[in-house]
């Protein structure tokens, strides 16, 4: 099935979960990535159970923060 990942249309296997997609896409520092599907934020606790569906739009967002000390 076809989905859009980080702006690119890609074919993935049916039943692919967010956790598997993170592995398949070789996402670096995955523990610090926020995932959205169709603009909805997915709780990291649900990465293993959330299945990607046909035509979903998936984004990976790195946490961006820091400090001056």
């Amino acid at each position: 099935m076809v989905v859009t990942i980080a702006g690119e249309k890609k074919k993935i296997k049916e039943g692919t979960t967010v956790a598997q997609l993170i592995i398949d896409e070789n996402v670096e520092n995955a523990d610090y990535v926020t995932v959205t599907i169709n603009d909805e934020f997915v709780d990291s606790e649900n990465f293993d159970s959330t299945v990607i569906n046909e035509n979903d739009v998936v984004e990976f967002l790195y946490f961006m923060g820091g400090g001056s000390l």
Partner: protein, 140 residues
Amino acid sequence: MLYLKKEDYDKILKHCVDGLPNESCGLIGGTKDGSDKYIKKVYLLTNLDASNEHFSMDPKEQLNAIKDMRANGYELLGNFHSHPESPSRPSEEDKRLAYDTKVNYLILSLMEIDNPVLKAFNIDEEKNVTVEEIKICDTI
């Protein structure tokens, strides 16, 4: 080399000065040509921490900025934040929280308010820091 329009530099500076005494932050989007990166648009984001010592970008604003970049044919080139009272160099926390090794990290020091200093850095997985030169131009 990172190319930044003067008007976009002024936007970053105003955002960060307006945000004092707290740190301010945002994203930069644009295009790449080899090792040259051209900042085409700056996104002024909210520092959810509202602190003068640290910042966290609002993920919803972050998502909207990324979507706007895609709509304009830009890619995420990096982010920026201010250091209200310290020099323009990555702090230990900046390095620790630099999870995306593919982007530039810009820091605007306002410790001398009449002499703001903007620098850009690369931070790799081992947390090694290198400087990326910035050229501020009238047009790019």
